[in-house]
């Protein structure tokens, strides 16, 4: 593997009594789109600040491009940040905001003009140079902030919840644009968000955080399909999480029935949690159903119906279906063995990966 662009080695940080980062180990490869995903207070912004230099770490080492940068001040680090509140300078117009970093380096006027023009072009703001910041909309401010950061040609761009202040439609557009921009520039993006949809849509790799710990890292598909624990399963997407017992390899028991599954490597009769995504559950007739449920309510979400149902044992189920089902009707629910994902209690990411190795030989 090539040398990682950023490496955090056993990094810890606390403010007073509260520990915000607990022994974080993290490696980021050059040229990829990474996302730190977690609820507010999970420590994701602190990780970003240890890389940008606005937070010093209590213990551990921060490496950038192979160099230890613990003591390097922010203005000498080769990373740039897009701030959550944009942090544009109101006393300058768009052009001067974008040119700010270059003017500090005494770059020649013509060169500045050329690079500002091209930076504004890459965020689709050609011709906005003379605008005042106060005349811009939220989305335009966001683009200026991005242009101001990428003009510095950093090896890595840090984005601190940059889309959280935009409305839903604009946010979706910006997701495409950010992804496209990252691929065009070929630099590493570290994106911070609490929005799991954003993370799934844009990232090459996601780090899910909670309480100062990275719980799981992997591609969006891995994390969505094989969440490591209850928190990740619940935080990423909608899910049905049930208590069950692993009877033997490839057989799990929940809601009083045994089902074939694709998980193995656990102790016989080990208590586990079972995750089933609502879109993997298919509604069928009562006779064909592996489960029988009664429909409680349903909400039309545009591209699907979100159906809440209860089975005969009182367990609640969330089902996504393209077809509407009458309320209070009894229907069958069916699913395939690979729709069942089994989670062990308190399993670390290393153990999880190691266990997968033991039986997923074909992959």
């Amino acid at each position: 593997m090539a040398q990682p662009i950023v490496k955090l080695n056993h990094v810890s940080k606390s403010y007073g009594d509260s520990t915000v980062l607990k022994d974080i180990n993290l490696e980021l490869e050059a040229g990829k789109f990474y996302t730190l995903l977690g609820p507010s207070g999970s420590g994701k912004t602190t990780i970003l600040q240890t890389i940008s230099g606005f937070t010093s770490v209590d213990a551990g080492d921060v490496y950038f491009d192979g160099q230890r940068i613990n003591e390097l001040p922010p203005n000498r680090r080769k990373v740039n940040t897009v701030f959550q509140d944009y942090a544009l300078f109101p006393n300058m117009n768009v052009f001067d905001n974008v040119a700010f970093g270059l003017t500090l380096q005494n770059v020649k006027k013509a060169e500045i003009t050329r690079r500002v023009t091209s930076a504004l072009k890459s965020v689709h703001l050609n011709g906005y140079g003379n605008r005042e910041i106060s005349e811009l909309s939220g989305g335009q401010k966001q683009r200026v902030a991005i242009a101001r950061a990428i003009i510095m040609e950093p090896k890595m761009l840090l984005l601190d919840e940059p889309l959280s202040a935009l409305d839903a439609k604009l946010r979706r557009d910006m997701q495409y644009e950010l992804r496209e921009l990252q691929q065009r520039l070929g630099i590493t993006f570290l994106f911070i968000t609490h929005d799991q949809e954003e993370a799934l849509a844009m990232s090459d790799e996601i780090f899910v955080m909670n309480d100062g710990v990275i719980l799981q890292s992997g591609t969006p598909v891995d994390i969505y399909d094989e969440p490591i624990n209850h928190f990740v399963a619940n935080f990423i997407g909608e899910s049905n999480i049930l208590n069950g017992v692993m009877r033997e390899d490839y057989v799990v028991e929940f809601v009083g029935k045994r089902f074939e599954c694709e998980d193995a490597g656990m102790r016989p009769n080990e208590p586990v949690e079972v995750v089933m995504r609502p879109e993997d559950l298919t509604i069928t007739t009562v006779e064909n159903g592996k489960l029988v449920v009664t429909i409680d309510t349903q909400l039309f979400r545009g591209d699907y119906y979100e159906i809440a149902a209860t089975d005969d044992d009182g367990n609640e189920w969330l089902i996504h279906s393209t077809n509407s089902v009458p309320d209070n009707s009894r229907v069958g629910v069916t699913f395939a063995p690979n729709d069942i994902h089994v989670m062990r209690f308190n399993e670390s990411e290393e153990d999880f990966d190691a266990r997968l190795e033991t039986y997923e030989t074909d992959d």
């Binding site: 203005n75 990373v79 701030f83 942090a87 544009l88 300078f89 700010f100 500090l104």
Partner: protein, 272 residues
């Protein structure tokens, strides 16, 4: 509806008459031929020509202006740096303590401040005069400047400073290119507040001034004790018109800037 509106207008009119009547009364008598303000005795400009010939009074006016400009300049510099320092304090307790000390100086009576400066300067055996007046004016203006600059610094927040550092700015560049331009309105209003406080001040100056140096307020006070001469009325008239012109000038300057900004915005919208 209309009736109540009229009543509020009337109220406003009465208030302004009460506020301005004494000043207008004073100015009116500056054109009176007599020597006292008991009766108006025909129009003359003689008091104004006397004012022009009274070189002592003119020197005092210039001294007052000099003290005001110098003291507010120094106070603005020191106060702005102080506000920057207070803004840097990370602990709320420290910050609030410093701010309280700052505010105490503003609310404490001028007489106390003046007396304590007098005791202080005599203890140091400084000769009373220009320098002591200047020092004390600087001292009582600093808290005002601090109070005017701090809100702007709070408004600035941390993210803009972080952004500048992130783009490679050194501490000095952050200060000169981001912080100062942003807080300039606060600094300016602090300067002008300090200026008016200094021009106004009687109590402190009265204590700390010495032989051969006087400011306008002290001079008028000492003259008024011997029965006010209408020359003072003429001076008041001149100062009143002067401040009126300042206010009007400020108004038009503001209007001009706003219309220019508006024009540019609309012009750019036309282009789109």
């Amino acid at each position: 509806m209309t009736k109540r509106f009229k009543f509020s207008n009337l109220y406003l009119l009465v208030v302004f008459i009460i506020l301005y009547a004494p000043i207008l009364f004073l100015i009116a008598f500056s054109f009176s031929e007599g020597d006292s303000m008991s009766h108006f005795q025909g129009f003359t400009l003689s008091h104004y020509s006397a004012l022009l010939r009274d070189s002592r009074l003119i020197i005092i006016v210039l001294q007052t202006l000099l003290i005001a400009l110098l003291s507010s300049l120094f106070a603005t510099i020191i106060g702005t740096l102080g506000a920057l320092g207070i803004n840097q304090t990370s602990r709320t307790i420290t910050r609030n303590t410093i701010l309280s000390f700052n505010n105490i100086l503003i609310v404490s009576p001028d007489v106390i401040i003046g007396a304590s400066f007098l005791i202080f300067f005599t203890a140091l055996q400084l000769p009373l005069g220009f320098s002591t007046v200047l020092l004390s004016h600087i001292a009582f203006s600093i808290p005002i400047v601090v109070l005017m600059v701090l809100p702007k610094l709070r408004e600035l927040g941390t993210s803009m400073v972080s952004a500048a550092a992130d783009l490679g700015a050194t501490n000095w560049q952050i200060l000169s290119k981001i912080v100062f331009p942003f807080i300039t309105p606060g600094i300016l209003s602090g300067f002008f507040m300090a200026l008016t406080y200094s021009l106004d001040d009687f109590a402190v100056t009265f204590f700390v001034t010495g032989n051969g140096f006087s400011t306008l307020s002290v001079e008028i006070y000492s003259r008024a004790r011997q029965g006010i001469s209408l020359e003072i009325n003429a001076l008041s008239g001149v100062l009143f018109v002067f401040s009126l012109l300042l206010v009007v000038g400020y108004y038009f300057l503001n209007q001009y800037q706003q219309s220019r900004k508006l024009k540019r915005t609309t012009r750019e919208e036309d282009i789109l």
